[in-house]
Symmetry: C2
Subunit: 137 residues, 2 copies
């Protein structure tokens, strides 16, 4: 991750606008952003994130790590609310040690969860000690 200008920073890569401000961040900038824990360990990177179409809220960020060209990658969904963006580091920080992450809900490309069933999202929220996001408006 390159250094990010956080106040009115706007850079262009290959014609695609990448922007970040003190409040707003572009979706394609979130994807690929590094995730660290408070011990400053690099846990992975944001693969993509799940948006609630009806409320416009980001529900989960899916962190990926490992793998080569998408093969063998594992995905860890995290409630969006546990992520904090650290402008200094240019990445997200979560209060999560490796051992807790290892026991967390995870899946691979061959083993995708069914997000339409709230059970899966609830399991993720519960593991990280968050109230179900579904109740949020």
């Amino acid at each position: 991750m390159d250094t990010i200008t956080t106040t009115g920073g706007a850079t262009t890569t290959g014609g695609a606008a990448i922007e970040e401000t003190d409040r707003l961040i572009a979706s394609d900038k979130v994807e690929g952003t590094a995730v660290y824990n408070r011990q400053d360990e690099h846990l992975g990177a944001v693969h993509n994130f799940m948006v609630d179409k009806s409320t416009g809220r980001v529900a989960y960020a899916v962190m990926s790590f490992g793998g080569f060209l998408g093969m063998g990658k594992s995905y860890h969904p995290l409630p969006w609310r546990v992520l904090n963006y650290d402008t200094q580091r240019g990445g997200f920080v979560v209060d999560l040690d490796r051992s807790r992450l290892e026991k967390a809900p995870t899946y691979t490309a061959e083993n995708m969860p069914n997000w339409s069933d709230r059970t899966y999202g609830n399991r993720v929220d519960e593991y990280y000690g968050m109230s179900p996001y579904w109740g949020m408006i």
Copy 2:
């Protein structure tokens, strides 16, 4: 846009998970999704969207159209709240005719707005008759 399975549909392209459910949609699925108006005209596609880091809300979707390899493309930010996802069509629908869109706030890669200044977002919200998103929690 291919036909989308909307109930528990999960497909994999090149190892990247693409998912959509009745409520949740993956960020990388939103990007590239077609935008139509109520007259069934294809207006463009979602280039990316702006997320409020502090609230986790999607504030604006940036629609792009025209151009070649990113050159000459123009970008139209739309308040997220004016977009409705049509599962039948596999795209977003906005109540917007072409003439109104032509007069709307727009920019190019050479002429990026400063999103950190709320003035720009307010102008977008105002043009589309929406209250400023900043007040939302």
